[in-house]
């Protein structure tokens, strides 16, 4: 019975993927991509990876979809024509079919898995994914937080010199008493609570800094889009502190581990739980602010015409 559910889900995923790539029009493609992301999140739950499902739904479908939609709106300002749909490309289709076939062959050719009997060593937290992310593979997560920062800096370099002093993103025009403004007042308190809860509960149950930070970023974006909060300027120092808080806390924790004799980024067992919590809070703040700034984009001025 459950096999039928998986089969239907996979058929839906493939159908939506085809619609994303072959559909007419960019907007249609973006909307189908968001649907694809949500179906992927369901697939992750079926694969017993709830943390990944949360991350895919929030980041993969949600924030990436918002990013693309705002980019589409921004492009519609600059470009007056919509690119004509391309014709069907047979050699590329054959090559991609071959790629899929090669991957399928690789799946069947892989050696049989060894059934694991061991469990993770005690890590201070109950959620194994959080333990791996912040304790055993902390190096990867530290570099990932720095990669986020690097992408933001790269994005800020796209701003024109004349716009550098403006506020981030495009100016929003929102009716003061309208639906969007009301939504911007109703959602952020609930969203803030959900985001903080996701960060807090990530130690023992599915959740964590990335998922909670993304929900907080979404709350910030809704408030900005509703015109209730004006995006900051690039030069604002408080926001820069928030941006680097996560990597800094992580680095300090890692160096503290080295100073205490356990090794760089090794959390000694008695303080592992507390250290992971402190790092998660710092990471969540940084991730939330970085994601908001990534989606808002570089500062742009008013329309020149």
């Amino acid at each position: 019975m459950t096999w039928a559910f998986d089969a239907a889900l996979c058929a839906l995923i493939l159908g939506v993927a085809f619609a994303t790539v072959l559909g007419r029009g960019v907007f249609r493609s973006i909307v189908f991509f968001i649907v694809y992301g949500l179906l992927m999140a369901v697939a992750w739950v079926r694969l017993d990876a709830v943390d990944v499902a949360l991350a895919e739904a929030a980041i993969g479908a949600g924030l990436t979809g918002v990013l693309f939609l705002t980019a589409f709106g921004r492009l519609a300002r600059n470009v007056s024509d919509d690119a004509a749909p391309g014709r069907f490309h047979l050699p590329a289709a054959l090559a991609c079919g071959g790629l899929t076939g090669a991957l399928a062959w690789a799946w069947f050719a892989m050696p049989a898995p060894v059934r694991r009997e061991w469990e993770l060593p005690p890590a201070g937290v109950e959620n194994p994914v959080t333990a791996v992310l912040l304790n055993f593979r902390a190096w990867d997560t530290l570099l990932e937080s720095i990669v986020l920062l690097a992408a933001l800096i790269g994005l800020w370099m796209m701003a024109r010199d004349g716009d550098w002093g403006n506020r981030l993103g495009l100016p929003q025009h929102v009716r003061p008493g309208g639906v969007m403004a009301g939504f911007g007042r109703l959602l952020p308190p609930v969203g803030f609570l959900v985001g903080v809860y996701l960060v807090y509960v990530g130690a023992d149950q599915p959740g964590g800094a990335f998922q909670g930070g993304t929900v907080l970023a979404a709350v910030g974006l809704v408030a900005a889009m509703a015109g209730l909060v004006r995006p900051p300027r690039i030069a604002a120092h408080r926001w820069r502190v928030a941006l680097v808080a996560g990597p800094s806390v992580f680095l300090v924790a890692g160096l503290a581990g080295a100073v205490l004799g356990a090794g760089f980024l090794t959390l000694p067992e008695p303080v592992a739980g507390t250290a992971i919590f402190v790092i998660e809070v710092g990471l969540a703040i940084s991730i939330a602010v970085t994601l908001v700034f990534l989606v808002l984009g570089p500062p742009e001025g008013e329309r020149r015409e």
Binding site: V179, G182, F183, L187, V190
Partner: protein
């Protein structure tokens, strides 16, 4: 007993979703489609949530399910209003 209730309510919710999708595909313009979509889909989701309520134990999980439905209602209502207003502006502007 609880399973029968779940199947009944979820089936009812599915009927509403099918009705909304038929409206989406068959209605001529944006406003009628929005109307069909919002009414049918929100009600459909409500029935599915009602069906799920029979499967969970504890007030906390039930309250969370109802919260999910309320948030979806809020988001869907806001989005359909915004789409309708944009379509109105497109049509008259």
């Amino acid at each position: 007993m609880a399973d029968i209730a779940t199947i009944a309510f979820t089936g009812l919710g599915l009927c509403f979703f099918i009705a909304g999708t038929i409206g989406l595909l068959r209605f001529p313009d944006v406003f009628t489609r929005l109307h069909a979509l919002t009414k049918a889909d929100n009600l459909g989701l409500g029935f599915i949530t009602l069906g799920m309520l029979f499967q969970v134990e504890g007030w906390r999980e039930m309250a969370l399910l109802v919260l999910i439905w309320a948030l979806t209602l809020l988001a869907a209502g806001t989005v359909s209003q915004l789409i309708a207003r944009a379509a109105l502006k497109d049509r008259s502007g």
